[in-house]
Symmetry: C2
Subunit: 379 residues, 2 copies
């Protein structure tokens, strides 16, 4: 069922079939090291989110640099990661339904597995599955610290649920999941600071409330690429779950620092290589990458290194690029590197990573081709 | 690399893992028959677009009902379709790049292959590849009849290019590709009529111009699900390339007929089955299907049969549903059928179709599980 890869190791960039999902290996490796070096001295744990890359190859590189395990969002992702050599996976999500709970419990027989709950009945179902399979599952109680998605309210509701989890056989109460997803893409530094300060206060109070009830939070998890430094500095969180930092995207590049300049902690390392397939009229070219090669939920891609070009519209298999008639015209066969608007759902469109060393139009070569092994692993 | 299917034949709907891409087989089969019965009496050829379904299984069912072949957009799609038993494939797109042209020529050794050109150099490259492989490729000259995407201008530019194609070895000039994609989703019947009338006039003039130059258009291809009746009635087109009619989607359902009522030629046959994974607050539930399970380029999905529920926001793996506190509340484990906003890119997110007979919450069963064989076939 899987289509063959668009490249092979040793190829030059010009030989890669398009559209192709490219990793700039040099930038990618600098991103991995930068995060490891940022978190290492803090004494906090780094548990990167594998929902971004869906790749055991990349997860193992994160582990080799000190990560304690990885996160993912779906049981099927956890299965693929475990099969690929990852032995500690936290599903930062609710797992609902009999078959999914059975699969999670079966997985917990062979690797360390954790998950999140925000509902007492779901916790009881999870416990029953764990007991049936003779497994032990680490459970974090998810609290809503401002994202308005999943999670019980901080404070008393969290204490009640944690108290129940702690009594359930087959489960090990691990602490809290406190991810402020809505803060990650707030543009101004003071907006992100305010959101995380509020999340920190709610989380701190809940940790204290639980401690008063004899419920120790060994793990307080959360944070993303947009705010991790704030969570790290808060003294509240002890496990950071950043994902996008490995690749980055056009939307994260719009986040600003305290001086109003773009945050520059990580580099763009993910691209979609695209070819001009038509240049039918003055000032317009059509690329071979549209809705099936790029995610548009955070806006269109940017054309890397070509501020004179604007990707102005997508259909399923086409992208229209506008350019001034006075520019160097694009011609069929010309190639462009596109910076995805949003990395995670763009990765999920592709079966293969083409990992390139020395990314440039001349001299670059394909060092590796990696499957996006958990692509489509949605359940 | 491919994740296992979310269901197996014989399962009840309640046993299907979610999110899952569901086909309502009864509605799907009625759609296939309705199109065959609409086109059959006209004497025109039906060449359905396989970009929608990416499935040789479905393509063969279309052929069995009288289709002369199928269309697709990418060489890799054509390869998958040919491997799946389809022996006549038209790539309704420009094929650019040495490797792609070689692959197309190699494919033309084993099945009937056609493609579109809008550039003389591309036509010469295609000819060279065909000659090198001892293949013959049918070529349609694509003209821009109002979509503003690919295609040379109608009239003289088309005649010039067609004249060159007709002289090139390894190519067989077949006629014109004249697809008005921009007209498909115009809401009001008179808007679609005006757009197709204009496209028809441009195409008719070009066909006549070519005929005057001794260039016979055996094929004049185009039309989509939104406008095919207009092209069929025009006397200009002779090959109809509709794709979405097999499944339909929320966006096509917004097209209106001459009386201002929704066009009812085809039924909704494609769904994403989703589970409520969290119900954390009054009036809010969270589903397990977000950006990685549904395309949002044509708006959010509708909740089938539940006008009281509104899918109001997606993140990568989550969908938030709003409901009035007075409604029957949703609870974790409850299931909903979602009508995708746009069928083609939604299909492209999934590895498997779960084909269900007698779709309903009680009594339905999985009749077949089909791979979305050309999913990710983007190059």
């Amino acid at each position: 069922m899987t289509v063959p890869p668009p490249a092979a190791p040793g190829m030059k960039l010009a030989e890669v079939e398009t559209p192709a999902l490219l990793i700039d290996l040099d930038a990618f490796e600098r991103n991995l090291r930068a995060m490891a070096e940022a978190v290492g001295p803090t004494g906090l744990r780094l548990r990167p989110h594998a929902k971004t890359h869906k790749s055991p190859v990349i997860a193992r590189r994160q582990l080799a640099l000190g990560a304690v395990g990885v996160c993912c969002q779906k049981v099927s992702e956890a299965e693929v990661l475990a099969d690929g050599g990852v032995d500690d996976v936290l599903v930062t999500n609710q797992v609902v339904g009999a078959r999914k709970l059975e699969r999670l419990a079966a997985l917990a027989r062979r690797v360390k597995v954790g998950t999140c709950v925000d509902d007492a009945q779901n916790a009881r179902d999870l416990s029953a599955a764990a007991v049936r399979f003779g497994a032990e599952i680490e459970v974090l109680v998810e609290i809503d610290v401002g994202a308005g998605r999943c999670g019980v309210a901080p404070g008393e509701p969290a204490r009640t649920l944690a108290g129940e989890v702690a009594t359930l056989p087959g489960l090990r109460f691990g602490g809290l999941q406190a991810y402020q997803g809505a803060a990650q893409h707030l543009r101004r530094a003071e907006e992100r600071e305010a959101a995380i300060a509020r999340a920190a206060e709610l989380t701190r109070q809940t940790v204290a409330l639980l401690a008063g009830a004899g419920l120790e939070c060994r793990t307080v998890g959360g944070a993303g690429t947009g705010t991790y430094a704030l969570e790290a500095a808060s003294g509240v969180w002890n496990e950071l779950q950043c994902g996008s930092y490995v690749f980055m995207d056009a939307d994260y590049a719009r986040n600003l620092d305290a001086e109003g300049a773009p945050v520059a902690a990580f580099e763009q390392a993910l691209f979609v290589l695209s070819t001009v397939m038509s240049q039918p009229a003055a000032g317009r070219a059509v690329l071979d990458a549209g809705l099936k090669a790029l995610a548009f939920d955070s806006g269109p891609p940017l054309v890397h290194g070509r501020a004179d070009l604007r990707y102005e519209g997508a259909s399923d298999e086409h992208g229209k690029v506008a350019f001034e008639a006075t520019n160097a015209p694009l011609r069929p066969g010309d190639r462009l590197l596109l910076v995805p608007g949003h990395c995670d759902p763009t990765v999920n469109l592709h079966d293969w990573y083409v990992a390139v060393r020395g990314l440039s139009w001349e001299g670059a070569f394909v060092e590796a081709v990696w499957p996006v092994a958990a692509r489509g692993a949605g359940f």
